[in-house]
């Protein structure tokens, strides 16, 4: 009798520390943030129940739309650029050359380096007067730019006249952050691609060689289709990560951060601002929920597609 109790309680004891932390700091906060989002919630706690009031407030808040638009621009630029460059580098590294280890180390270095230090260096590089980037631009006979203090859309800058907001594109300030974050993330995507490339059976390439296929058609007809599940994984992970961008905005822009003119204000910065500069915890929770739903949708899409397999061998 005693022994049976022992058996049933033991696994529970082993799991206890993990279960407590997961319940209190992973599971419960999700329910809690959903609850807080339904209240007007200030510094002293819940003030009154407002139902979906905070969500409606978000929908009519121009700053929310601005932050969502900026986040979407960020995602739309970072994800393809990062995939393009990391795949390109991975392909080069995969072509049986020496010193792979050296290059892999160099490209991976920004991944492990703290965002705080990296943002500092890049802010220095982007200095509007004496920065390295303007030095290089003037060296190449391009006009110097104001980088992180430039709120004009990049398409406006390129064609040299004003455009309606939708067509203006991300501000140069946001593009500056985009460039830095692509640089920081390439190494990560590159090693995933490298692993994917090394999983492609060699005999496909040998067969292609026998048939006399050229470099690009080998990529087009063998590498790309056989790499599709890796590419899809990188695509989803990058998109999910990109929606959560926050630190570089806090570190590189402003004061006030999110500037100039709110052109680098992203979703997570907007919710941080609402909570910690305006003590609107209810409203900030509603934005957290919106972010959560976006990321959850992406995750579910990924699961569904992976279940069906991207490529049938």
């Amino acid at each position: 009798m005693k022994k049976r109790i022992c058996i049933s309680i033991k696994p529970f004891l082993y799991l206890l520390p993990a279960i407590i932390i997961v319940l209190v700091f992973r599971f419960f906060p999700i329910l809690y943030v959903a609850r807080v989002s339904l209240f007007k919630w200030g510094i002293g706690g819940a003030e009154r129940f407002t139902g979906f009031g905070n969500y409606l407030k978000a929908l009519s808040d121009p700053y929310f739309w601005q932050s969502l638009t900026n986040t979407l621009w960020y995602v739309v630029f970072v994800v393809p650029l990062s995939i393009f460059f990391s795949l390109f580098i991975a392909l080069l590294l995969n072509s049986k050359i020496k010193r792979i280890g050296f290059f892999r180390t160099v490209y991976f270095l920004p991944v492990v380096t703290s965002i705080v230090a990296i943002s500092m260096v890049w802010k220095w590089i982007y200095h509007p007067k004496i920065g390295l980037s303007n030095y290089i631009l003037t060296f190449l006979h391009f006009p110097p730019q104001r980088w992180l203090s430039e709120w004009r859309g990049i398409f406006e800058i390129i064609i040299g006249r004003n455009l309606p907001d939708v067509l203006a594109g991300p501000s140069l300030a946001l593009l500056s952050i985009i460039i830095m974050m692509v640089w920081k993330g390439i190494g990560y995507n590159m090693v995933i691609f490298l692993a994917g490339l090394q999983n492609i059976p060699r005999n496909y390439y040998e067969a292609a060689e026998v048939d006399g296929a050229s470099g690009f058609s080998v990529f087009r007809h063998i590498t790309w289709p056989l790499l599709s599940s890796t590419t899809f994984y990188v695509l989803i992970i990058s998109t999910i990560t990109s929606f959560q961008v926050f630190a570089p905005v806090w570190l590189m822009t402003g004061p006030p951060a999110g500037g100039p003119l709110g052109s680098t204000n992203v979703l997570v910065y907007h919710l941080y601002d609402a909570a910690f500069n305006f003590s609107s915890y209810g409203y900030a929770s509603a934005i957290s929920m919106i972010l959560f739903l976006i990321v959850l949708t992406l995750t579910i899409v990924q699961r569904k597609v992976v279940e069906r397999r991207v490529y049938y061998e």
Binding site: K10, P11, Y14, L15, P17, A18, I19, I21, V22, V24, F25, R26, F27, F28, P29, Y32, V33, V36, L92, I97, G101, F103, T105, Y107, L109, V112, T113, S114, I115, V116, A117, I118, M120, V121, W124, I130, Y135, W183, G185, Y188, V191, I192, A195, I240, T241, F243, Q244, F246, A247, W250, V268, L271, F276, Y281, S285, S288, M289, L291, F292, L296
Partner: protein
């Protein structure tokens, strides 16, 4: 010829990756007057290593380093202990609801970190933990990815080994610590490195949860230092170099494990 072109591309790329690091170190060694010169100099004409001394004097970086070291070590030990216990239960014990609990744990990995900022802050505030080490350590002493990784390893340990150990009078806990964990050393090392790195680079969570200088970890300390000294780029570069250096050294020694741990966890900063 083709090989040559590949090397050219790779080297130009590598240069673009090294330049910002090089620029940080070079700036950290320039006198303030030289740093603001335009066009900039690529090699400091009169190197000034005193910038490092000045940076260390300008803010209590020693304090920040110790705080982070303390947080990183306790968190990492916590992660290893809690995930060994949990992974062992999931891998080798039979009980009702095991698979459901495990799936629920895994589901938690899908929640993006920023979603936890507001509820995390409110919950920690209700505990009275804001501005304490508890806020920086306790929520992170369990890591679902670590549990998942160790569970995979524990499942590969043959049952015969367990039977032999228990016949020799080894208790279940004894088997876990003296046999199962040492046998899973690669996984434990991966988890430890990953956890140390994450603690060292952790920025957003401590930024939100702490304010006091006495418990401020190094990244937040550096961030505020950057705000205060806004244009003093020689000092900022010196401080940043110091903060980045330990990670870069760790990276050169444990490259393989670090790259693997990033790949397995699906986490990138």
């Amino acid at each position: 010829m083709k090989k040559f072109l590949i090397y050219v591309f790779l080297s130009v790329g590598a240069l673009l990756f090294i330049v910002p690091f090089y620029w940080m170190v070079v700036t950290s060694l320039k006198p303030a007057v030289e740093a603001v010169k335009f066009p900039p100099t690529w090699i400091p004409m009169a190197p000034r290593p005193e910038n490092y001394v000045d940076a260390l004097k300008a803010a209590p970086f020693g304090r920040y380093f110790l705080n982070t070291l303390f947080i990183a070590i306790i968190t990492t030990l916590g992660v290893i202990i809690t995930s060994s216990l949990a992974a062992y239960a999931f891998a080798r014990m039979q009980f009702k609801g095991r698979d459901v609990i495990f799936l629920l744990f895994l589901a938690m990995m899908m929640v993006p970190m920023p979603v936890y900022i507001i509820p995390g802050y409110l919950i920690l505030a209700s505990f009275g933990w804001i501005d304490t080490f508890y806020a920086l350590i306790v929520p992170w002493i369990v890591n679902v990815f670590a549990i998942f990784l160790l569970r995979q390893h524990f499942r590969t340990i043959p049952k015969a080994l367990y039977d032999a150990a228990t016949i020799d009078g080894c208790s279940e806990l004894g088997f876990l610590w003296r046999i199962a964990v040492p046998l899973s050393k690669p996984a434990v090392v991966t988890i430890a490195i990953f956890s140390l790195l994450a603690s060292w680079n952790s920025f957003v969570w401590p930024l939100v949860m702490t304010n006091r200088e006495e418990i401020r970890p190094v990244q937040v300390g550096l961030a505020y230092f950057i705000q205060e000294q806004s244009t003093n780029y020689t000092l900022l570069s010196a401080a940043s170099t110091l903060v980045v250096l330990p990670v870069i050294i760790l990276f050169f020694f444990f490259q393989r494990q670090i790259i693997e741990s990033h790949m397995k966890s699906g986490i990138k900063e």
